[in-house]
């Protein structure tokens, strides 16, 4: 944790610097008769962020924040595994949206999570994984008139049938 605290502060300081640099594309000073320029608001606030990172580093050095005193690792092996499996699952889910449509991706993600991570039986996970996207389809497309990504063209026949049902 102790190492992580200072690394995080360092990364955030870099982010602040990047934001400050990016803000300078617009005037960051006080324009006479007009007030602050377009870049002033984000520039100076990013500046405060940078100062805060400095203060966090100072507290780390003095060891006043809990994280800077802790010798525990940020995540143990089980923790990393958990975060990678769940976080990776979400990334894969979002990645699949443009391939097999939002609803297909929902079904795949639910199945993955419940069957593989949750170790639920097939007869629990499969029906839920299929019913949820269908319900959401009728909710979003039918009731709310919000169209979700349909993925690659090969999903068209399925959706054309479904649209036939709701309209």
């Amino acid at each position: 944790m102790r190492k992580g605290e200072i690394v995080t502060a360092g990364l955030l300081a870099l982010l602040s610097l990047y934001l400050m640099w990016k803000s300078t594309e617009l005037p960051i000073g006080y324009i006479a008769g007009e007030g602050p320029g377009g870049g002033a608001w984000p520039f100076w606030l990013s500046g405060i962020m940078l100062i805060c990172c400095g203060a966090i580093a100072f507290n780390w050095w003095r060891q006043t924040s809990p994280a800077s005193r802790s010798d525990e690792p940020l995540l143990d092996a089980v923790g990393w595994r958990m975060v990678l499996l769940v976080g990776g699952g979400i990334v894969a889910f979002v990645g699949l949206v443009n391939v097999i449509s939002m609803y297909g991706a929902i079904a795949a993600f639910l199945l993955y999570y419940m069957r593989y991570l949750g170790r639920h039986r097939w007869r629990v996970s499969l029906p839920i994984a299929l019913i949820t996207p269908v319900t959401l389809f009728f909710f979003f497309e039918g009731a709310m008139q919000i169209t979700m990504p349909k993925g690659m063209p090969f999903t068209d026949p399925v959706f054309n049938v479904l649209y036939e049902i709701i309209y």
Binding site: M1, G39, G118, L136
Partner: protein
């Protein structure tokens, strides 16, 4: 007295069989739309506007009012049960609603939210009925300097909301403000902070993208990691006795917050541009300040649920006032309703209130009826939401992720935003590990885009002279109070240090 007669007519119209049916459908539909992260009353009203041509205009208005109320109540449900604020107005509700749910007292939080919302809505309706034209002129006297002063006041109330680590809290506030300034500079019209020159950033980062990322993904990951995927909080079954006890508890510990929220929320909500979010936030802050046990807030105090819920309901009703009296939308939802009025052949503007009395009072009358229907239906659905919480966590968790991603997409219909949400979620997970409070960032991204343009508009008005915030009769006192509140904690800290030394 004429007003009361008109109002009675309005309510009478609302309880006709067809209309009563529409109210029930509208409230129930609104409840689910509001409870869905990413969707809110604005979606519901927008899709149902064309549908309203199938029924007489009077009934159409009632239907929309019912939906509006239902969605307002629904916002609290996702804050409590899923831990994701479905709308910016419900962020403050998560502060105490979520801890209550984690302690297995979700029903207490939901009952408190429902009752507080009801009181907030009722107080707002009464104030509305009595003082509408007067309040309209107050709303007009709020120009950019006044709105900015009000935002300053809202910021002042959340200085005390962050964690114990001051640099991390300030970092979080500033991060939210900077993220909120991405997109276009409202004053010069120039693109600003288009990160990595990716055109996706041109549209800015919306509140929902950050909120769903932080709460729906980051916080969820954190919970899963902390509990090793098995949340142990047991949510007891709903019993009549339990509900009665919850109701008693809600009333006993939530009345103060409800009262503060109802009035504060209404006055802030009446001001166009300000809206319900600063209202609910200020109500939370003030309730915590006047509470005898401020240290209980943030750990599951019913007062912390009651205040923002009363305030956001009250403010959302208040937001109807500028629309009806001036023809100015106070929120995106009222903007769409305003469009509906044009389609129905009404002319929005200052004369609407005088000339279309039947329409105006019919709408207000249906607010009263919808509010009653909403609290009853909401209470009736609480067992269903509690039942959802009783699902095994390995089913509930993926469902929350799915609702977050699908809801996040529905809000802007842009995959870029969904990717940003995932990135924010993963980032938020690690920041959470290092005790960075993220609620301030989520609120700042809402308040920043109101605060910055009003600040710069004011300075344009005064030719760059900042004294404009102190010399105007309304802005002056608000600015002074806000500055005192902001510097009070620093001053206290300094005195404490000195007395220690």
């Amino acid at each position: 007295m004429e007003v009361l007669g008109l109002l009675a007519d309005g309510m009478f119209v609302a309880v006709q069989p067809l209309n009563l049916f529409l109210i029930l459908v509208g409230v129930a539909l609104g409840l689910f739309i509001g409870a869905m992260p990413g969707l809110g009353s604005v979606n519901g009203v927008a899709i149902l506007l064309p549908v309203t041509f199938l029924v007489p205009p009077g009934s159409a208005i009632i239907f929309l009012a019912a939906l509006y109320y239902g969605a307002m109540y629904g916002g609290a449900i996702s804050s409590v049960t899923l831990g994701i604020p479905g709308a910016s107005t419900a962020v403050a509700t998560t502060f105490d609603g979520r801890p209550l749910a984690m302690q297995g007292r979700a029903s207490l939080a939901l009952v408190t939210a429902a009752l507080a919302s009801f009181v907030g809505g009722t107080v707002a309706n009464i104030l509305f009925t009595l003082f509408a034209p007067l309040l309209a002129s107050v709303a007009l006297s709020f120009g950019p300097p006044e709105i900015f002063a009000l935002m300053l006041l809202a910021f002042a109330t959340f200085v005390g909301l962050g964690g114990d680590d001051i640099p991390k809290t300030i970092f979080s506030i500033c991060l939210g403000l900077v993220l909120g300034s991405i997109g276009f500079d409202a004053i010069s019209g120039a693109p600003r902070l288009v990160l990595f020159d990716h055109t996706g950033f041109l549209q800015g980062i919306g509140f929902l993208v950050l909120a769903i990322g932080v709460y729906g993904i980051g916080e969820m990951l954190w919970t899963i990691e902390q509990t090793r995927g098995e949340v142990t909080a047991t949510t007891p079954k709903i019993t009549a006795k339990g509900v009665a006890a919850d109701t008693k508890d809600a009333v006993r510990r939530g009345w103060k917050g409800t009262t503060i929220g109802s009035f504060l929320g209404f006055f802030v909500g009446v001001l166009p541009a300000a809206g319900a979010t600063p209202g609910s936030l200020m109500a939370y802050g003030v309730t915590k300040m006047v509470s005898r046990k401020p240290q209980d807030f943030g750990k599951g105090h019913p007062g912390g649920v009651a205040a923002p819920e009363a305030a956001n309901n009250s403010a959302s009703t208040g937001a109807m006032l500028p629309m009806l009296t001036l023809g100015i939308p106070g929120s995106p939802t009222t903007a769409i309703l305003l469009g509906g009025m044009v389609i129905w052949g009404l002319v929005p503007g200052p004369r609407l209130f005088v000339e279309e009395t039947e329409f105006v009072w019919g709408l207000i009358g249906s607010f009263y009826v919808s509010n009653v229907a909403a609290v009853l239906i909401n209470l009736a659905f609480i067992p269903l939401f509690i039942w959802m919480l009783r699902m095994p966590f390995t089913i509930l968790a993926p469902m929350i992720f799915v609702l977050s991603i699908a809801g996040g997409y529905a809000a802007t219909r842009d995959m870029f935003d969904v990717w940003l949400m995932v990135i924010f979620g993963l980032g938020a997970f690690f920041l959470r590990k290092f005790d960075y409070p993220l609620a301030p960032a989520v609120l700042a991204i809402v308040l920043g885009p109101i605060a910055e343009p009003t600040l710069r508009q004011s300075l344009l008005l005064s030719s760059g002279d900042p004294s404009i915030f102190f010399t105007r009769p309304i802005a002056g006192p608000i600015t002074v109070i806000a500055l005192i509140l902001i510097f009070l904690p620093a001053f206290k800290l300094l005195r404490k240090r000195r007395s220690l030394a």
